[in-house]
């Protein structure tokens, strides 16, 4: 069932934290709201849940207007960052609570709880209390409580950020699989771009309450709409370089599109190695070229000492151009005279 946001605006006092956000998530789609902290993504999620009310705009789920409905009447489930389990109830009662509130038959509830618990590997923990569980287990309980009543939509507010790094990657895959099986429209808030890239069908990149780009992970990565998206998505982020020949534009190059050579070749530019960072499977080489610092992604073997003289070029056809004043993406070649003299 599609979830539709139509020009949602929210102010806290005089500050506009969400400004006229419109966004549609198709039935069964996994949409990630990505942005730095304070960009309004959590507030947006809370408005969809009904925990905050928008100052303007309409929220529709499966065609029905939810904007003024109570949270309980929206048929939406939410997973919170701190899990928000009920500390005084056993895990079984936690998971079954949404059904109990709906006055379902206790035998039916217990059957459903067992089913969901088995799916999420919680069967042995059903009689425990939340405080006896590890972070990962609590997270799975929160998920179980969310999926047990098969809501029309899922909201997840940084659900993995309290887990340690290894568990986070594990749960990320688990979550993706679960969403694929359930095919319920999901809105997922995170500031972690790797979660966004791996989980999303589409990513909405947010900044200062506005959506910067709403597109597939591939397009967000390969065709960022502006310098903010270019700098926020990707690790390390895209190189953004001022080009003297093109005073009105900023040049963007992904680190993997910077080639390094030990010998001078026609069309290559001289630089020095500022630092190299070995990551195991790859090495990041930071170059100093004039006033600019450029990060290049090289194979694991590329060990270069400090201050080694090297030559670099940008892989042809992999350049991104942005308007310098607005930061907005320009057509693939700069409007003024080409700065590709190096190519």
């Amino acid at each position: 069932m599609p979830l539709e946001l139509d020009r949602i605006t929210k102010r806290f006092g005089a500050r506009e934290v969400v400004c006229s956000v419109s966004l549609t998530a198709e039935d069964g789609e996994f949409v990630v709201l990505l942005g730095p902290s304070g960009c309004g993504k959590s507030t947006l999620l809370r408005m969809i849940a009904g925990l905050e009310s928008p100052d303007q705009g309409v929220i529709r789920l499966a065609g029905a207007d939810l904007t003024r409905r109570e949270p309980r009447d929206r048929d939406i489930a939410m997973v919170f960052q701190n899990y928000a389990l009920y500390p005084h109830m056993t895990i079984a009662r936690n998971i079954g609570y949404p059904l109990k509130v709906r006055k379902r038959d206790p035998r039916e509830i217990s059957a459903e709880v067992n089913g969901v618990a088995a799916r999420l590997g919680l069967t042995n923990l059903l009689q425990n209390r939340p405080r006896q569980l590890s972070g990962g287990e609590r997270q799975r309980v929160a998920l179980a409580r969310a999926i047990i009543r098969r809501p029309k939509a899922f909201l997840m507010d940084e659900p993995l950020s309290n887990l340690d790094a290894r568990l986070r990657v594990e749960m990320r895959a688990e979550l993706k699989r679960l969403q694929h099986e359930l095919r319920i429209v999901t809105l997922y808030v995170t500031h972690d771009q790797s979660e966004a890239m791996t989980l999303a069908h589409r990513i909405a990149v947010m900044r200062d309450g506005c959506i910067q780009q709403y597109d597939t992970p591939s397009n967000v990565y390969h065709r960022p709409a502006n310098t903010f998206v270019a700098g926020f998505v990707g690790s390390p982020p895209m190189n953004l370089i001022e080009v003297p020949e093109c005073p009105d534009a900023t040049l963007g190059v992904r680190p993997e599109d910077v080639e390094i050579s030990m010998i001078d070749q026609p069309g290559w530019t001289a630089a020095r190695v500022y630092v190299t960072e070995e990551m195991g499977n790859e090495t990041l080489v930071v170059l100093t070229a004039g006033a600019a610092q450029i990060t290049a992604r090289g194979p694991a073997a590329s060990r270069l000492d400090f201050d080694t003289p090297v030559w670099y070029r940008f892989r042809p056809g992999k350049l991104h151009w942005f308007d310098k004043a607005s930061g907005v993406r320009l057509p693939d070649h700069p409007p003024s005279k080409p700065a590709d003299s190096r190519e």
Partner: protein, 273 residues
């Protein structure tokens, strides 16, 4: 060596604290002739229960006792019924500007007033509505007196409950009230217990208001009743002590039962208040 001092200090403190209690209990058990014997009979006196019989068979102490029970219970229940929702509102709802803090401060400010300041106005007000010498009037006063404490103590307990737990309940299908009753209140049960016990003890021990606002036997509470045994012609030490011992028991029971909660609750109030 250090431990010896610590234990010695503790022992002295204990003796100092318990000596009057011991004196009270023994006097209540001594025959009148032994009560002021010199040198005092610390132990080994002839024990008797005649003072207990005297105090409680006559009827008036039984009435005082019952009055105290009714008053303590009803004023505590009333203070909780009004104060708990108020505390929840202060803890959870956004008030415009800094009203939230201001309302809390105004509520607390009534506790900064020495109680005796309010005695005369209260007397006049209660007389106007014909509630002098009535349990209802006294219960109203006690409720008002305990209310700020309930609000402040319960507010910090409510603030300790992560608001996401409540939000999760609302998304799971609860109304706001349902989430409060079925999720939040069970979580603040220790706080409720500590607050209730504190209110009970305050109401049970209260002397000043009861003394001024009740003058008839039918409305007198235990502390006032005990004090009234000091008459123009005699001081009935035995009956007073017996009643005092009996008056002590409920408080002792409450405090022991809620000791765990009391320490937590009171220190929390101190830190977060």
């Amino acid at each position: 060596m250090k431990r010896v001092f610590v234990y010695a200090a503790a022992a002295i403190a204990l003796v100092v604290a318990l000596a009057p209690v011991y004196w009270l209990v023994t006097i209540s058990l001594k025959r009148e002739i032994d009560q002021f014997a010199y040198p005092p009979q610390w132990i080994g006196f002839t024990a008797t229960l005649e003072h207990y019989v005297e105090a409680f068979s006559g009827g008036s102490f039984a009435t005082y006792f019952l009055n105290s029970v009714i008053l303590a219970a009803s004023s505590t229940v009333a203070a909780l019924l009004i104060g708990v929702p108020a505390a929840y509102g202060l803890a959870r709802f956004e008030w415009p500007g800094n009203w939230s803090a201001n309302i809390g401060d105004w509520i607390l400010s009534t506790r900064m007033l020495p109680p005796i300041v309010t005695i005369v106005p209260l007397f006049l007000m209660l007389r106007q509505v014909h509630l002098l010498n009535s349990l209802l009037g006294l219960a109203l006063v006690y409720t008002a007196f305990n209310l700020p404490f309930v609000v402040w103590m319960m507010r910090s307990f409510f603030e300790e409950v992560p608001k996401e737990i409540e939000e999760a309940a609302r998304l799971d299908g609860e109304t706001r009230l349902g989430a409060l009753l079925r999720i939040v209140l069970p979580l603040v049960r220790p706080g409720l217990a500590a607050t209730a016990v504190f209110c009970l003890i305050v109401a049970w021990n209260e002397f000043l208001f009861a003394l001024i606002l009740t003058q008839t036997e039918t409305a007198m509470t235990l502390p006032v009743g005990i004090a009234s045994q000091v008459t123009q012609y005699e001081i009935r030490w035995g009956a007073m002590s017996a009643a005092g011992v009996v008056a002590m028991l409920p408080v002792l029971v409450f405090a022991t039962a809620a000791q765990r909660y009391l320490v937590r609750g009171l220190s929390l109030g101190a830190v977060k208040g």
